[in-house]
């Protein structure tokens, strides 16, 4: 890279112009990313598109079987169960996360003593992404755990959470609320960016606090809300570690009553031969991955198409 040293003056050279040099430098500096895109992203993606039409256990060459994987998937009960569980999570968790994080962000936006302290406390679980935190919640939501003990105070006898098939996913939703701090920070940044003058003008016009929130704050927050919904949904579709750790020894079947068999967990189980035929099933798993990719892509595109109906973009200034 140091050979790129450019001598100050070479006015005679006409082919090695400044713009050509700039062009070369530009590409050289993005080279690490470009190589990664080709070797670790685009290349593998294309290969898996092909692998989805084969039977492939890594040790022997892929055997072309046409659409057989996709036909088998459509008739695979585990696939439908995994899809159901994943969609359940997306549909239930996304709005709850949205409402709760918006509410807390609005509270944190009030100027008061300790606002920075509260912000840090609400955010800190987001730095804990490892399995240690999952174990912690498995312990808290144990049938005789701290959470159910708390419910007893309100006269509620808590369910078995991660041991009872009907309560595993609600348990995961409760647990997920610990990690909404990242989204809250995004909303908070958007809130702080709203010019004070807008509120003052509305106040002069006699608008109530509620109307100001509804007609100024919310519209100006919609870009952040949109961003959060899109990324949250993409994230929820890819739940793995939580489901894997919570289902523990039952991870191969997706926990009690397959209630935590989420899509990526099933894909992992298939790929590494924990369910179905023994050995790697990379062809089948590749087909599963592409189906999920298309689902996520479609949902994101639909959201983008719907965005201009409700997302408010300030004109570029």
């Amino acid at each position: 890279m140091t050979t790129l040293a450019t001598p100050p003056q070479h006015p005679k050279r006409t082919w090695w112009t400044k713009s050509r040099r700039d062009e070369l430098n530009g590409w050289l500096f993005v080279l690490p990313w470009l190589l990664g895109l080709i070797v670790f992203t685009a290349g593998p993606m294309l290969f898996s598109l092909y692998a989805g039409f084969t039977r492939y256990n890594i040790t022997t060459a892929p055997e072309w079987i046409g659409l057989q994987n996709y036909q088998a998937i459509v008739q695979d009960d585990f696939f439908w169960k995994a899809l159901y569980n994943t969609f359940w999570m997306v549909i239930v968790k996304t709005p709850l996360v949205l409402l709760l994080s918006l509410g807390i962000a609005l509270l944190l936006n009030v100027e008061m003593p300790g606002e920075k302290f509260f912000r840090s406390i609400i955010y800190f679980p987001n730095v804990l992404s490892g399995i240690a935190a999952v174990f912690l919640w498995k312990w808290i939501l144990a049938p005789n755990g701290l959470f159910n003990r708390g419910l007893e105070f309100f006269g509620i006898s808590g369910p078995g959470w991660f041991v009872d098939p009907t309560w595993t996913k609600p348990g995961m939703v409760i647990m997920g609320m610990w990690w909404i701090g990242g989204g809250i920070l995004i909303y908070l940044a958007a809130l702080k960016g709203i010019p004070r003058a807008l509120y003052e003008a509305a106040e002069l016009d006699g608008a109530t606090q509620w109307r100001r929130t509804l007609h100024i704050t919310l519209p100006l927050l919609t870009p952040a809300i949109f961003f959060e919904i899109v990324t949250n949904i993409i994230g929820t579709f890819q739940i793995f570690t939580t489901a894997y750790v919570l289902s523990g020894t039952d991870a191969a079947t997706g926990g009690p009553g397959q209630s935590m068999l989420f899509y990526v967990l099933y894909l992992y189980n298939r790929a590494f031969g924990r369910v179905g035929p023994a050995g790697f099933q990379m062809g089948y798993a590749s087909a599963l991955a592409w189906i999920l990719f298309v689902i996520i892509l479609l949902i994101t595109l639909i959201q983008l198409a719907l965005a201009n109906r409700w997302v408010y973009y300030e004109s570029e200034g």
Binding site: E23, L107, L136, W137, G182, I186
Partner: protein, 309 residues
């Protein structure tokens, strides 16, 4: 997306509120008191799991299913016993090595790529940058399987006793050297704020782009690089899926994989006090770094939109 006309240091801050905010009346109202009380309640709720974790980690098995917050007696020995089986020393070193290498890789490569997007002029630049942004939306699950296949085929020539990349640290470290879209985005925003005159002068004096990058841009980007360093640390230290898939020999495990042994060692019912003690120790570096560098975390999230999870 963000305002880029301000200086680099201001820029790492959350998109700044206009100065006029400051002159809001600092008045005590009932509404404020209510908001404060709700937040204080939430803060207690948010801290309770961590407090319970500490409490559990210090309990004896007899005390374990009681609901007392103060362990009675305090079983400090848990912190020794929890690490008495398994190769914890080894796993700690492994985690440390993988984290340091991948952190270094992702910081340097992202800083290079970001420099090109922020300060070099070339024709396809804006289109390529859009491609970078598009990959941020790409679900990583689509590359999971084919990457595994790739690493199961690439020869490692006996490194760490393996013929292929699988079951070595290579799959967990080498891809980090190809930069990360979120970090590129954050650094680009930051580098665009560094005044052009600073680098133009050096270029007129004959400095190469690489020298300008190395001697001017990198030192001036330290706040943004620090933000990235702690995100990268947190991500690599706590990665679970990567080591789960790629590391098969026990001697190569990371701490995250090591924690799993408590689950299977006691016939389905974990020794919660030991598990919580070990989990706390594994979490500790991340918690300490968060406490020390909160500002960078919070500002980094605001700029890139990385929610953590």
């Amino acid at each position: 997306m963000q305002n880029t006309a301000v200086g680099p240091v201001e820029q790492l801050r959350a998109p700044s509120a206009p100065k006029e905010r400051r002159r809001t009346r600092k008045q005590f109202t009932l509404g404020k008191l209510l908001a404060w009380l709700v937040l204080a309640g939430l803060a207690i709720l948010w801290l309770a799991p961590l407090a319970w974790m500490i409490s559990t980690s210090l309990k004896t098995p007899q005390d374990l299913f009681g609901y007392n917050w103060i362990p009675n007696p305090v079983a400090w020995a848990n912190y020794i016993d929890a690490f008495s089986f398994g190769m914890w020393g080894r796993w700690g070193i492994n985690t440390f090595v993988i984290t340091i290498i991948s952190m270094t890789g992702v910081i340097f490569s992202s800083a290079m790529v970001a420099y090109s997007f922020a300060r070099l002029r070339w024709r396809a630049r804006d289109q390529v940058f859009k491609l970078v942004l598009a990959t941020m939306m790409l679900p990583s699950v689509v590359t999971l399987i084919p990457q595994f296949i790739l690493f199961a085929k690439l020869p490692a020539f006996g490194l760490q006793g393996s013929a292929v990349w699988v079951n070595t640290f290579l799959p967990l470290t080498v891809p980090a050297f190809t930069a990360n879209a979120f970090y590129i985005f954050l650094l680009r925003q930051f580098m665009r704020g560094i005044p052009m005159e600073l680098t133009e002068a050096a270029k007129i004096d004959g400095a190469s782009e690489f020298r300008v990058w190395r001697s001017i841009i990198i030192p001036l980007s330290k706040p943004a690089l620090a933000a990235i360093a702690i995100f990268a640390f947190q991500g690599a230290w706590q990665d679970f899926m990567g080591p789960l898939i790629y590391l098969q020999s026990e001697r190569l495990y990371t701490l995250q994989i090591g924690l799993r042994q408590y689950e299977f060692a006691f016939g389905g019912s974990p020794a919660w006090n030991w598990l919580m003690a070990a989990s706390l120790i594994v979490m500790l570096p991340v918690l300490l770094i968060f406490l020390a560098f909160q500002r960078y975390f919070i500002e980094g999230v605001t700029i890139t939109g990385m929610g953590g999870r």
